[in-house]
């Protein structure tokens, strides 16, 4: 029971990180129908940006409050990662509209390889540990066997930040004119253009929002694991894509739901079965869902037209 509750907490924390990344996949897929393979590496890049700015703020500028530093880091990382997201779309994806169908995916794989190796060349291949940020825990209750069920402050921070940002994001998509334009482009890009929506700008903004949410996930990942390396984009990226597919690709609540489910499956699998095969479990879910339930939990079934 104690282990169950503890794993539930861990799983939900991990799941919120996956959910944040998954939104980037699902939005881009919804609007231009491509798998943005480089999204995982944008996430990894943002973790590096956060790491460097955290070091600048704490050691050079001498901000002693970790929470204040994290707040600034989050904002800076969101801005700079958005710029990366925008640039990637502008250089690698926009010229390919109307090219053959697999071209954007191949281009995205190229961007993914480029980004991870760019970070490797620029920052070195070794794992980068962060200085300890938030170490305190709250002991929720103690089990009969003496096993403490703990909720750490960083888990609270991760869940609260995720919830707040998702609320803001939800408001943007549902209530603002940008969100309306985006949903219109998702339904019919040509018609949206005829009605005076700047489609290119809307797509760019989709990438910017996706990158910004990925950078939140990157900062939270750094906070949670305390270590990052240039190759850390691939596996979380694939897991977040699995989350997006599981929730129903194109559906925003689905992405968050899928992220939470994947996070829970991963932690429970590690706790009760074998930690070695946790990635196999995630990859298998991806294959099984795509083969047997391609429209996911909350997605619309896809109709192929000639």
């Amino acid at each position: 029971m104690e282990i169950f509750v503890q794993q539930l907490i861990n799983g939900l924390t991990l799941g919120s990180i996956y959910g944040l990344i998954a939104i980037g996949y699902t939005m881009v897929f919804g609007i231009i129908g491509m798998v943005n393979f480089a999204h995982g590496d944008v996430f990894m890049l943002s973790a590096f940006i956060s790491l460097i700015f955290f070091l600048i703020l704490t050691t050079w500028l001498g901000i002693s409050s970790v929470v204040l530093a994290l707040f600034f880091v989050l904002i800076i990382a969101m801005v700079l990662t958005s710029l990366w997201g925008w640039t990637v779309e502008r250089i690698a994806y926009r010229p390919l509209r109307g090219s053959f169908r697999l071209a954007p995916l191949i281009s995205a794989i190229g961007v993914s390889i480029f980004l991870s190796n760019f970070v490797q060349v620029a920052q070195g291949a070794r794992n980068k540990p962060t200085p300890p940020m938030v170490g305190d825990v709250i002991v929720l209750f103690q089990g009969a066997s003496g096993y403490n069920v703990a909720l750490s402050y960083k888990q609270i921070i991760i869940m609260v930040v995720t919830a707040v940002l998702l609320t803001i994001f939800w408001y943007v998509v549902q209530k603002t004119s940008l969100g309306r334009a985006q949903r219109a482009c998702e339904q019919d890009r040509k018609m949206a253009a005829l009605l005076g929506i700047n489609v290119d700008r809307t797509i760019s903004l989709t990438f910017v929002i996706g990158a910004a949410l990925a950078s939140v996930a990157g900062t939270m990942y750094l906070l949670y694991y305390g270590v990052v390396s240039f190759s850390d984009g691939f596996v979380p990226g694939v897991k977040a894509f699995t989350a997006a597919v599981l929730g129903g690709i194109g559906s925003l609540p689905g992405a968050v739901l899928g992220g939470l489910i994947i996070g829970l499956i991963e932690t429970f699998w590690s706790a009760y079965f074998s930690i070695e095969y946790k990635d196999v479990a995630a990859f298998s879910i991806l294959a099984i869902v795509l083969i047997f339930m391609p429209s996911g939990i909350l997605g619309r079934p896809e109709v192929e037209k000639v």
Partner: protein
């Protein structure tokens, strides 16, 4: 990315020779500023580790250089597009005739001599190197490089069947390479089977795995299929790492039996290759044998592919690549067609894998990660999907290029002594894949020889072939 100067000229249709320098300058400045934004903080600060602590060192000089390069390139690009627009707006008197002129292009003329030339060089490569380097031991490095390149040529040709001909994007091709390598490693170490028995077995096993993995994914759309094959590739790698009883886990399988010359081992002993043929013993005999072995395997792959393209199944692959719905309407069994492409592609991957195992004498799961799949895919994409000679050229450039760069000592004097081009190899691969998709989505060699010919053989430009839904 249109320059402001070009958008205005396209509207008015009067192109001036001197392009708008101020606008180009402004745009280049913008690009440089964006580069500056991107460089913060990834390029401008380097994290260094001392003990458990990280500290930062600034590199603003490097950022300035990168921004200046981007600025310069952007200006050149503007000048280039402007002059191109000018040439387009002022037609040459021959232009009208050129467009309808269906004579062989320069590439087609070159390819008539190019293919025999390449084949000749490949066949005589060890001899040429021997003559140039003046000795067997001196030519070891080059023969080794030749083997490496030919392995990738073969993998590229194998994947070309799946990606180039059938149009199924397979991101997990390395899984079949791994199946082939581990088949040979396990069969030879546990049952003591020789390479020549294991080679077909490895091919059959890989093809079998191709069918097992291919069967469930065939209903999927192109990019979903890509992601699922990626997942399968990773699953196989993770199983190889974690199933320690069978595969010895991450430590890999070592002391795999070496290749023999049809039963005669390459040893210094009495019954060794050198003694049998009355030669002086030299370790290079084995290398040269391996070189011709992989050359034969690669040529076999090419030959089989070329023959298959002329058979109904090969034509069905290409039809499938162009339009799946049309294929189904014409009564082509798409499931079988896709499965054969998967299985045959996988089989050649398996052959290459067992060659890899016999060459290295050691296999470990780390040789079969996603990056390897991506490199093979990059070779196929850059070679122009579907073009055999293009894939070979791309493999030579992508695998041999960095090795040649490493030997150019003047690069070290330009970039400083610690310069290793291999570090930048993957960086350039990634950028190259993007550039390829943006500028030449049909690859370096985009000419297509049609498989079915009515009366007269005509090559068509790849841009005329439009792909449908796959």
């Amino acid at each position: 990315m249109n320059a402001p100067s070009i958008t205005t000229t396209a509207q008015t249709n009067t192109v001036s020779r001197n392009f708008d320098l101020a606008a180009a300058f402004k745009d280049a400045l913008k690009a440089a500023l964006i580069t500056l934004g991107l460089s913060i903080p990834i390029l401008s600060y380097k994290t260094n580790q001392s003990g458990a602590d990280l500290f930062l060192t600034s590199r603003w000089g490097l950022v300035a250089i990168v921004c200046a390069i981007v600025f310069g390139l952007r200006l050149v690009l503007h000048a280039f597009t402007a002059s191109k627009a000018y040439a387009k707006a002022t037609p040459s008197p021959r232009q009208a005739t050129e467009l309808v002129d269906a004579g062989p292009s320069a590439f087609q003329k070159a390819s008539r001599f190019g293919v025999p030339f390449f084949l000749g060089v490949a066949l005589t490569f060890p001899v040429l190197i021997y003559l140039i380097q003046g000795g067997l031991n001196e030519s070891r490095y080059w023969v080794d490089l030749g083997i490496l390149i030919l392995t990738y040529v073969m993998l590229g040709w194998g994947l070309n069947i799946v990606v180039g001909l059938a149009g199924l994007l397979d991101l997990g091709y390395v899984a079949f390479y791994a199946v082939g390598a581990y088949s040979y490693a396990l069969l030879s170490t546990t049952f003591g089977l020789s390479f020549w028995i294991c080679l077909p077995l490895a091919g059959i096993l890989a093809a079998f795995w191709g069918m097992i993995l291919g069967f469930p994914v065939l209903r999927l759309r192109g990019d979903y299929l890509a992601i699922v094959t990626l997942a399968f590739g990773e699953i196989i790698r993770l199983v190889l790492i974690n199933w320690v009883d069978l595969t010895n886990g991450g430590a890999g399988i070592s002391s795999i039996p070496r290749a023999t010359f049809f039963g005669i081992p390459f040893t210094a002993g009495e019954d060794g290759f050198a003694a049998t043929f009355g030669l002086e013993f030299n370790g290079m005999h084995r290398m040269i044998f391996l070189y011709y072995l992989i050359l034969a395997l690669a040529l076999l792959t090419n030959f089989v592919t070329m023959r298959l393209r002329k058979l109904p199944v090969g034509r069905a692959w290409e039809a499938l690549r162009e339009d799946e719905i049309a294929c189904r309407s014409l009564g082509i069994n798409t499931t079988n067609t896709k499965l054969t492409a998967f299985a045959i592609g996988a089989m050649f991957g398996g052959f290459a894998g067992s060659f890899f195992a016999v060459r290295q004498g050691f296999v470990s799961p780390e040789s079969f990660n996603f990056l390897e799949s991506a490199i093979i895919l990059a070779i196929v994409v850059m070679g122009g999907m579907g073009s055999q000679i293009g894939v070979a050229i791309a493999a030579i450039v992508l695998v041999g290029g960095p090795e040649v760069l490493r030997n150019l000592t003047f690069l070290q004097s330009v970039f400083g002594t610690g310069f290793d081009p291999n570090e930048y190899r993957l960086l350039l691969f990634g950028a190259g894949m993007v550039a390829m998709m943006v500028w030449r989505p049909r690859g370096l060699i985009s000419e297509r020889e049609p498989s079915v010919i009515l009366k007269e053989r005509k090559a068509i430009s790849g841009s005329l072939v439009k792909e449908g839904h796959g």
